[in-house]
Symmetry: C2
């Protein structure tokens, strides 16, 4: 299958690496809103201006859109799905139904296939929730995130006056995870599930006490959590906090028969959130390509993809080697 | 959906319980090769002789076949798939391709839909292997089973002269699991992955030293493992070893980009192997019913099932609540 990338930030770079690991995939181009001369792919891949993408119709089977969920994807995906098969990683959970409807209209009209909200949450964690609830109907789900960098929370700290740089780690509370794994079905408040660790580089002379107070009192982002703020130097930030690790667990506990208990857990420990997400997007692009060729158009999610369609192996090979 | 059960052992009983937890499912009958008068379902469900099943065509949408993989299912599933939509839990990994072909021929001829090898391994563990390898192509898979009762190994011990009863637990070696989770990609021999714990009730006056030796030297079953044999009383067996717990983990570790490491783990901890397996079979029956009504006939495996088809929720509800 021939793929193209639309947007070359951390996620786009991850997709470029992921294509190299999939022998059945080739990358025909990278589309960017920046000046193409300033974009330097890791490999020898042509870079085109985003606005000229319609000139490249027919050169690739699936376009992987690597934009942000706040403002990019709500515009980009419906627009591009009119002309191409597309995959995105839209992750604003509350707006998924609206995004789905808009993309579905666009893709159906053009006879294209679109997959939205690929990644690990939404994505693999959503699958873990669906499978576990279908096979263990009487039970309870818990999702824990981290330890990992939340880019949204890091950005929120950076917007505070006097902050030069910041990194925020979301950390599950170990006692809460253990209580869930032990099948105790605890009722957990937001504060009891996760803590937030903030590493902040302050401007020279900035009022650190005020910055710390503004972080800890920020509604939605930090006020409902036990938050720690550690001021560090720009050098320490560069040495110890440049990675984008993440992960977490989806755990479902439930009962069958006469009180037999079961625990299902799906967990991820990732050195690079964008590179891992990129691997999922490439596998989803494979399924989108196959489903489009079978005539299945419109918008899909990972819930609609038969697992076999994600794999480069044939159904017979899969049954022999993996079943 | 209307379901029926063919075979009423531990798994069949589990299916009866599982149907009660799925409000969209009803059980129309249990078919047994025993005298129906000797079979007592937990609920008020009619019991019919297995050989009269053709008289009940049209009374149910999907038949869940609860037989053994050694001799029952290779005969039963192809035969029954000629006349009914069926689900089985055939688990002899090496013979899956042959079983698939035979069931596919039978189901296709009759316009029916069959799903084979449902359960957790093959089944949910197979899915974990497929998803993880598709999204992390450069990596390595490990499957650990247990701590749990292996019925095949327990039966093998029971066939030894002088043994009245036996229970065999398969136990993963903790150091091996930890090395895999830590991403060390160890090369593990059979002996290094699992140990086998045997609890044996010997006949009065039996030669325990000989029984222990026969167990430990049994090829395929025990010779390649570190095996411990503990002789216990029939009373202790009844008190402490009547459950059928099981579980295990599928772990894939791999790399992306410039050496970033990732760990994906799917794990189960089950009080009752047959009851948990039954929950999976009922969810698979839901998908078989839907796919048959859409005209998809022939043999399927869990790899061919779009996850949404396992859930009683609509696609829109799933996107809103679980994605």
């Amino acid at each position: 299958m021939k793929l193209a990338i639309y947007g070359y930030g951390n996620l786009g770079k991850g997709v470029e690496y992921a294509v190299l690991q999939n022998p059945d995939a080739t990358l025909t181009g990278i589309f960017t809103r920046r000046d193409p001369a300033t974009v330097h792919p890791a490999g020898n891949i042509p870079v085109y201006p985003a606005k000229e993408i319609l000139k490249h119709a027919g050169e690739f089977d699936v376009l992987i859109i690597c934009g942000g969920s706040a403002t990019d994807l709500p515009e980009m995906t419906p627009l591009l799905a009119q002309s191409f098969n597309v995959v995105d990683s839209f992750d604003t959970h509350a707006n998924i139904p609206l995004h789905f409807d808009r993309v579905n209209l666009a893709a159906t009209g053009g006879g294209h296939t679109a997959l939205i909200s690929g990644g690990w949450d939404p994505g693999m964690f959503s699958l873990a929730r669906l499978y576990a609830s279908a096979i263990l109907p009487e039970g309870q789900d818990y999702t824990f995130w981290g330890r990992g960098v939340s880019q949204g929370h890091s950005d929120a700290i950076r917007r505070i006056d006097g902050v030069l740089d910041a990194r925020q780690y979301t950390v599950p509370v170990p006692a809460a995870v253990e209580a869930v794994r032990a099948g105790k079905n605890p009722t957990l408040s937001t504060r009891e599930k996760h803590t937030r660790e903030c590493y902040v580089v302050a401007a020279p002379g900035a009022d650190k006490a005020r910055i710390e107070r503004e972080i800890k009192e920020m509604p939605n982002y930090f006020a409902d959590y036990d938050t720690t703020v550690t001021f560090i130097s720009a050098e320490e930030m560069k040495q110890n906090h440049m990675g984008l690790p993440h992960g977490g667990s989806v755990i479902r506990t439930g009962k069958t028969g006469n009180g037999n208990r079961h625990v299902i857990e799906y967990s991820l420990k990732l050195d690079s959130n964008p590179e891992f997400t990129a691997g999922i997007l490439v596998a989803l692009a494979r399924a989108v390509d196959r489903m489009n060729k079978r005539g299945r158009t419109g918008c899909l999610t990972i819930f609609d993809i038969a697992p076999a369609d994600l794999s480069p192996l044939s159904p017979a090979e899969l049954r022999k080697k993996m079943l």
